[in-house]
Symmetry: C2
Subunit: 712 residues, 2 copies
């Protein structure tokens, strides 16, 4: 069947793809069915090779289900891209397939009752982590899996298989999240990020906290109501509500950003949304852990206490800044390490690139794990490690390794993300302890017969939380910004508040208590709703809000140049935070960490001479008369630069050419160069080579842009 098709036209390919999708789906289901253990099970010789082999086969089948799901998703994406179908993103698709397979696993397969499961009523008054059972002289070791509610005890046998496909939540945190977060940091479009740094930080920090508290308060109201009506079967405290608010505040607009990327939506909107969502996750993780750490003294552990709250706040600050420092520190260590290693000569370049990439991968991951092991937050650490590496290490990597590392993390991110989303779909039906409390979801007036409508109020709370984040903050920010965040941008940001991998990972991490189980189930529904509805409606929303699409960022720039000096000054004013940082970075950090920038001896005061000489790499001196600044895309005002190292600036580029960048740019003065420099920066990180520093003499042709030449 598959062999029979030998590549016809596009229509034939589409038909084949459909066929393949069907085949894959049926394979998926077959595997699910095949994974049920055979019926004969003898009571004796349980720990034999047979048993081990069977268990291994089962494990393989479980893993295969996920691999097949991912393959299926990729095949369908291929089809969608071919058809230019934008209503459903790959993540939404992965979820749908996950749900389908989940349904099959749950209802389609009936595992015969395994008689080897035994319920014991032992005279122990505790549930230890490890249990040693003495069975007629032989000792067997058991490990605790978790508590089972009394009414589920009889279902345990049936659920054996479902439990098998349910992963340890640690897998998400230790293995799947790091590449996603690191990739976000590593692929951050730094130019736009730094240009909007103030707003992004405001949204990420203030916004997340506001959103967390608004959602927490609304949910607390809902929970109180439920208690009164008697619909609550367990404890649900205010801290639980706040915790829910925190985990639900982590936005993940991966779907929206993919569409933005494809349609080339306004770069500032993209930067705001991407930057916010990246930092958002970091803040939400730390916030949720500090809410968990809130423990007032005394008997009633769920009252409000100022000291405990201050302590939580302190934890938040401490953990965040600690993780930040750790991430940056490991990033910096890696930069220096690579620097040292680059001195070694290799007989084979291929070996060298392999080592470089492997080291890069391991260092990134170890940052995450180190932070987690130290009690900090790995997500925050790995995010800032990624940003640091993109900023400093990237220039120290060999060009081939730059490509390899980018491709590697792209692939890992792609696989991990789709895995999480398809797993989400799967857990909707296979997770053991779902508590879909419609009361929690819709409040007291909800009806059981409208399960879909039930979703609205939580969704409402989640949306209100986001609204309370976006609109007031945008209003405040607009007071300070000249380049206003327009109302259609605000609506779009509001709409793009999808919940995704991070929210899921946070909620599945601990599903021990009644409240947490309810949260997990609700979170799952929130993710489904936002990814499908908001994600699917992005293109409609964009056209409805009349947001410009098809904006080439080059074109955008030349337009802004044509608009004259008005817009430039706007940017400069809004980015005061950035300017301070840039000067510091360019004068001190760059020279220490990379081979670019001016030697420290010329930027540090003369009294620090010996230190400066010690810290500056010899290459910086070598480059002195041919100063390359690979990151000149971050230069903002040439005034800063001329102040700092005006004495060593030269006007020849690496090729010794004095040619102008092109007639279109020939007439413009130095102040425009920066804007242009800001533009030609991170479209293709690989393209950046040695670049000239701006000449100080205005009468000279101002700017030689190798990229421009390359495009011509």
């Amino acid at each position: 069947m598959v062999l029979g098709v030998t590549a016809g036209g596009a229509r034939r390919a589409t038909r084949t793809l459909r066929l393949l999708v069907l085949v894959s789906l049926s394979v998926c289901i077959c595997v699910g069915r095949a994974s049920s253990p055979p019926e004969d099970s003898s009571m004796e010789n349980i720990v034999t090779e047979k048993k081990a082999e069977e268990s291994h086969r089962q494990d393989s089948a479980d893993l295969l289900i996920f691999i097949m799901l991912l393959t299926l998703t990729i095949l369908t994406i291929w089809l969608f891209k071919h058809r230019r179908f934008r209503f459903l993103h790959e993540t939404g698709l992965a979820m749908i397939y996950g749900v389908l397979v989940g349904v099959v696993l749950r209802y389609g397969i009936h595992v015969p009752r395994d008689i080897s499961n035994v319920t014991m009523s032992c005279p122990v008054n505790a549930s230890p982590a490890t249990l040693l059972v003495n069975v007629s002289g032989k000792f067997y070791e058991y490990t605790l899996k978790g508590e089972i509610s009394a009414n589920e005890v009889n279902n345990v046998q049936d659920n054996e298989m479902l439990r098998k496909v349910t992963f340890d939540p640690e897998v998400f945190f230790n293995i799947l999240l790091p590449p996603i977060i690191f990739h976000a940091g590593y692929s951050l479009k730094r130019r736009h990020f730094f240009r909007n740094m103030g707003s992004i930080l405001a949204y990420a920090f203030l916004g997340t906290v506001i959103s967390c508290f608004v959602i927490g308060l609304l949910m607390y109201g809902c929970v109180t109501l439920m208690k009164q009506v008697g619909q609550l079967a367990g404890d649900f405290f205010f801290t639980d509500c706040l915790f829910f608010g925190a985990i639900v505040s982590a936005t993940d607009p991966v779907t929206v950003l993919a569409i933005f990327n494809e349609l080339q939506v306004d770069v500032d909107l993209y930067a705001l949304l991407f930057g916010e969502s990246v930092l958002n996750d970091a803040v939400a993780v730390v916030l949720s852990s500090s809410i968990v750490a809130y423990q007032p003294e005394g008997d009633n552990s769920h009252t409000f206490e100022v000291m405990a709250m201050l302590k939580s706040f302190g934890i938040f600050l401490g953990v965040f800044s600690g993780s930040f420092a750790l991430g940056v520190a490991t990033g910096v260590i890696y930069v220096k390490l690579l620097d040292c290693l680059h001195v070694t000569k290799f007989t084979k370049l291929r070996d060298f690139q392999l080592l470089e990439t492997a080291l890069f991968f391991l260092m990134s991951w170890s940052t995450f794990l180190l932070a987690e092991a130290c009690g900090f937050t790995g997500v925050v650490a790995v995010l800032f490690c990624g940003i640091t590496q993109a900023h400093y290490t990237f220039n120290n990597l060999s060009p081939d390794s730059q490509d390899r590392t980018k491709q590697l993390f792209e692939l890992l991110n792609f696989l991990a993300e789709n895995f999480i989303f398809s797993y989400m779909g799967l857990t909707l039906f296979t997770f053991q302890s779902h508590i879909f409390n419609p009361m929690f979801i819709v409040g007291a007036f909800s009806l059981f017969c409208f399960p879909l409508l039930n979703l609205v109020p939580t969704q409402l709370a989640v949306f209100l939380g986001r609204a309370a984040n976006i609109y007031p903050l945008s209003f405040l920010l607009n007071l300070g910004r000249r380049n206003k965040i327009r109302s259609n941008f605000q609506h779009m940001m509001m709409f793009a508040g999808l919940r995704g991998a991070m929210t899921f990972a946070l909620s599945i991490r601990d599903t021990a208590t009644y409240a947490r189980k309810m949260m997990f189930s609700t979170t799952l529904l929130v993710v489904f709703f936002t990814v499908w509805v908001c994600g699917g409606g992005t293109t409609q929303m964009l056209s409805c809000q009349r947001i410009r699409v098809g904006v080439d960022s080059d074109q955008d720039n030349s337009m802004s140049i044509a608009e004259g000096s008005e817009r430039r000054s706007t940017k400069q004013e809004s980015a005061w935070l950035f300017r301070i940082w840039y000067t510091y970075d360019h004068n001190y950090l760059k020279p220490i960490l990379t081979h670019s920038g001016p030697p420290l001896t010329s930027t540090l005061p003369p009294c620090c001479g010996p230190l400066a000489r010690f810290l500056t790499s010899p290459q910086a001196y070598e480059n002195e008369c041919q100063l390359k600044d690979d990151d000149s895309d971050l230069i903002l005002t040439d005034g800063d630069i001329s102040l700092t190292y005006g004495d060593i600036t030269v006007s020849t580029d690496a090729l010794g050419a004095h040619t102008s960048g092109g007639t279109a740019f020939a007439g413009m003065a130095t102040s425009d160069d920066l804007d242009r420099e800001l533009t030609y920066g991170d479209h293709e990180l690989v393209m950046r080579g040695t670049r000239l520093v701006l000449p100080m003499d205005d009468s000279e042709p101002p700017f030689t842009d190798p990229h421009h030449r390359m495009r011509m």
Copy 2:
């Protein structure tokens, strides 16, 4: 400290590296220490967030140990490469670091006794897989971890941490082995492999079986002796001995091959060794599983029975051929799939490459899992899947994806391999149930006070097993081969019989019984010994055996051409197996699976016309007058080709040039072209582009080689 070094000379870099290695090692140890749980543990509220967080932190620390070990290994390799230090390969190094950290974990860290572990003597007469414990009304679920010997019960608490760093053996089989095996298949140097196919198959199949039985018999003699002396504390049957023989027969000369690669040792020796070791693993896995499946009927289950043995033999054949078929089939499906998908147009090439690479990765892994889930052997399936994909898919991939997939699997292979070896080092001290029975290792006359000498007899058995494989088989093969396997090659192959990842994975997979535990411990020592001693002595052995090094395979070829027709005919005769296969592949498989080769309509008999037209890709017709044969490196005799599609051969290449390949080749006749074609093939798979088919007219300049032109 790290910051202080800003890249001086090479010596300074070396010193820094040493420092960094030290720092990393201490971090490793610190992490190990940090990972010990705090001392206060309350009996109540065990399943709280605190506990979960602590467990998470512990998991992170455990993973971090491995990541640090890998990082350390990479750093040291960097240093070694710099120093051109060849005595210790990266895998040997990884093991040493593993042993060091294992010692620290075992003896350096004392975990306080955890009182929450409880030993119960419950009135159950079985050890179920899942245990439900009723603790004062609440039900807790426990899962079986394994049996613990009575004298170890008291140590369980102490070993809590050690057990944590001991991975589930399934991890090796489902996650770490697939990339290693796939990479082996994918990076197989096909030209040399196919040229020596007969010998490689003989070594791999016959050789492994011989080695398995020789080792099994020797060990059985040893075990019988031990029983008589009373040194055996448990059962050890003949099947166990055979099983040991099988797992120890899987050679893994990764160390040797790396050195061969670096020193450019004779390509035929390389091909023999690599091909043998790759297939070896596959055979050993299937062999060991069919030995496990040997179950005679009746009461005494360890007697010899012809029927049971025949059944085992049938299982061996069935599983091997089934896995082979599955691997090739999924490879072929992937080829066709990619073919269909390539029809779709993409707006962004980058997206496309990402999907292509992701699909490639997932398909390879799913082959492994599918085979395992179906009861076949994943290793065999994934190996042949890799070979199929390298042979057929590679040409259908976009050039960038060819690079990406190669790099990806190179990286995965590197990481997985080093992980396994460092884990091996770690388990030497952290594994719980080691049984180092010196009697098993040295026999009755061994002394406890010479633990190192103890190793010799098992080593002797292992060596004898290999000797019984290599020497007699080489003798037989040399009867048929004109290009003899010289005695120094035989000695080298004998010496290069290292044991590695596969042997370890097979032995750790099941350590339930006494015999298996003893095997595992012994295997570990065998691996250590062979990797360190044999791996370290490779260069000495090479010079001792006077094996030519620094052989450029191009040069080798031109020499063989200079030697005249004698050697050519040798090759042709020895490769009769290959010639049959090649004709079939070139005429039927290539046209069906790729866009290269002649259209089927010209190779199939006229009666199959409609079928041929259906199976041939339209592109094959398009290419008809410009016939590209990307795999002409596999062409052996032009006689075959002229017979098959002599009517459609043209003598212009893609560029329309009629130039000769170079003066050196100008005077040579067609029969030499093939030998040359065989040579310029898989040095760099990426380099292969459209190539001309040999012109039939001998008076024309015979051969236009784009590679040669590229080199000039």
